[in-house]
């Protein structure tokens, strides 16, 4: 019996820790602006500095908005056949980021302003049958 492997959709974007999912980004050493994915410099035009340091974000946030993706997205997005609609969320993190991600829940269970938490979960399978995982949000 083989076990299904979990393969991150892209390396270096997130990690799964004992405390839960963390997104890997940057924070400006001068103005505290946050970035995901990592940014080599701070882009805030009002900031006098430019140096950033590594920072990680999550798991809590507030759902800013959501939408159900009813048609199969064009490449380079990937999905399992046959296509099943999925729900997208836009979440405000207390670290100052407005972050996109998929929702684990159907839209009927969602409400703008609700608390959500970051998880790492499967978004589709790859050609070898492995679970391709990305960050997602679930109602907290």
């Amino acid at each position: 019996m083989t076990t299904t492997k979990r393969v991150p959709v892209t390396e270096g974007l997130f990690e799964e820790t004992a405390e839960g999912a963390r997104l890997l980004g940057s924070r400006c050493a001068t103005c505290n602006s946050t970035y995901f994915p990592k940014s080599p410099v701070c882009h805030n035009p009002k900031c006098s500095g430019s140096a950033v340091e590594d920072a990680s974000f999550g798991p809590s946030g507030k759902l800013w908005s959501y939408s159900v993706q009813h048609y199969a997205p064009p490449p380079p997005a990937k999905f399992d056949e046959p296509y099943e609609p999925y729900t997208l969320g836009l979440v405000d993190l207390p670290e100052g980021l407005r972050l996109l991600g998929r929702m684990t829940a159907d839209s009927g269970d969602l409400e703008v302003g609700m608390n959500v938490e970051l998880v790492i979960d499967r978004i589709h399978s790859d050609d070898d049958g492995n679970d391709v995982v990305s960050w997602m949000f679930r109602p907290a």
Partner: protein, 393 residues
């Protein structure tokens, strides 16, 4: 800086034209604009053109060069402007500067596009350092869901209903019936719209714009050249382009700064529109009609509020009271807009210049805004580009 007149406009109808080349479509728009201006091709001293990603331009966005080669090479300078869906507006802004600066007396501005089938793949870059590529791979979020997220938020904030969203599409199609250049010219009921396929919830198929082929052109000239041809030209009161600000809350890429107040607005569009108000010495209440980029019905509610044309949260009630039709207090997209024309991306700014000109001349037939004196146009494009123009008579 001197005044600039829009002395001639021309448009190729918008739709799907598999048997027409982009060159022939542009030619039709340019010839119509020259005829309308009472000018000939050799009198044109420079060209400012929208650069297409999808058609012509030798793959380098040299679409203005295609037009010059087709019309007949006269040695004139060509400026090709790339700004996504704001390219036509961007080209207009440069064309306006070429005349207002005194550098040239007569300039052609043109945008033309033949679009590929289906939903646009936003980025042309397939690498993991490209935020748009990463967004599609790690999340899977095509264009319409961007609008859907903004729209769902509005529904929660302002109580905007699905019926109101549908009524905007109904109104657009009532206008397009009277526009011979429109791709879709049939009326829809609210039920037709709500029964069309859900694309990105809460937005239905008839509430987002399709992609189209289209072309539009204008001849801009100095006051001296204008007076040789007409007693009452249409004037460019202002033109402006802008890009976005750091923390406007619009979700660009995978994550963007979240304003503490939870708000989101298109800062690039607001900056371009406010730039026009200031340059023209016009206040929002002076504007008689608006042609705004309605990629989706959401923008017809959000933009008028963001630009001060009405109070925050008021656009829905103006719609309900029939005030956004051509004969209402705040006419929006009397042309039928891109809901009925579809987006031929780099031609869109010039499409608006054509419609505003016809409206200000009183040539818009059954979709005419009565006694229109001041008209505002606006486009929005990839890369956080925006353009705005105010024309007056």
């Amino acid at each position: 800086m001197r005044d600039v007149a829009v002395i001639g406009v021309g448009m190729h109808p918008w739709g799907k034209f598999p048997d027409s080349s982009i060159t022939s479509m542009c030619r039709q728009a340019v010839e119509a604009a020259l005829e309308d201006a009472g000018a000939t091709w050799p009198q044109v001293q420079a060209v400012s053109a929208g650069s297409s990603r999808f058609s012509g331009g030798k793959g380098w966005g040299l679409n203005g060069n295609d037009v010059v080669e087709d019309m007949g090479p006269t040695g004139i300078p060509v400026y090709n402007l790339s700004a996504g869906c704001a390219a036509g507006g961007n080209a207009f802004d440069i064309g306006h500067m070429l005349v207002s600066s005194g550098m040239y007396d007569m300039v052609l501005v043109v945008g033309g596009e033949k679009m590929p089938k289906g939903m646009i793949q936003l980025s042309g870059v397939d690498e993991e350092t490209d935020p748009e590529y990463l967004r599609q791979v790690a999340v899977g979020m095509p264009g319409p869901s961007f609008w859907a997220l903004l729209c769902r938020r509005r529904m929660a904030e302002h109580g905007t209903t699905e019926e109101q969203l549908a009524d905007i599409a109904v109104k657009a199609h009532q206008n397009s019936v009277h526009n011979p250049n429109a791709r879709f010219r049939q009326e829809f009921t609210r039920e037709d719209v709500l029964n069309s396929a859900l694309v990105s919830d809460p937005l239905h198929l008839y509430e987002i714009c399709p992609v189209s082929d289209g072309a539009a052109a204008a001849i801009l000239c100095s006051p001296e050249e204008a007076r040789k041809r007409t007693m009452d030209p249409i004037w460019v009161a202002a033109s402006a382009v802008a890009t976005a600000q750091f923390d406007d809350g619009i979700p660009r890429g995978l994550a963007s700064p979240a304003p503490a107040d939870g708000h989101a607005y298109h800062s690039e569009a607001l900056l371009a529109v406010e730039g026009c108000y200031e340059k023209a010495g016009v206040s929002p209440k002076d504007v008689d009609l608006v042609e705004l980029q309605d990629n989706t019905v959401y923008y017809e509610l959000a933009f008028p509020e963001e630009w001060g044309l009405c109070e925050p949260g008021e656009a829905g009630s103006l719609l309900d009271r029939g005030q956004t039709v051509p004969t209402g207090k705040m006419p929006i997209n009397p042309s039928g807009g891109f809901l009925c024309f579809g987006e031929a991306t780099t031609a869109m700014g010039m499409f608006q210049v054509c419609e505003l000109t016809w409206q200000l001349r009183g040539q818009a037939g059954a979709r005419q805004v009565p006694d229109a004196k001041i008209g505002l146009g606006q486009t929005l494009g990839l890369g956080s580009n925006a353009s705005a123009v105010i024309l007056k008579r």
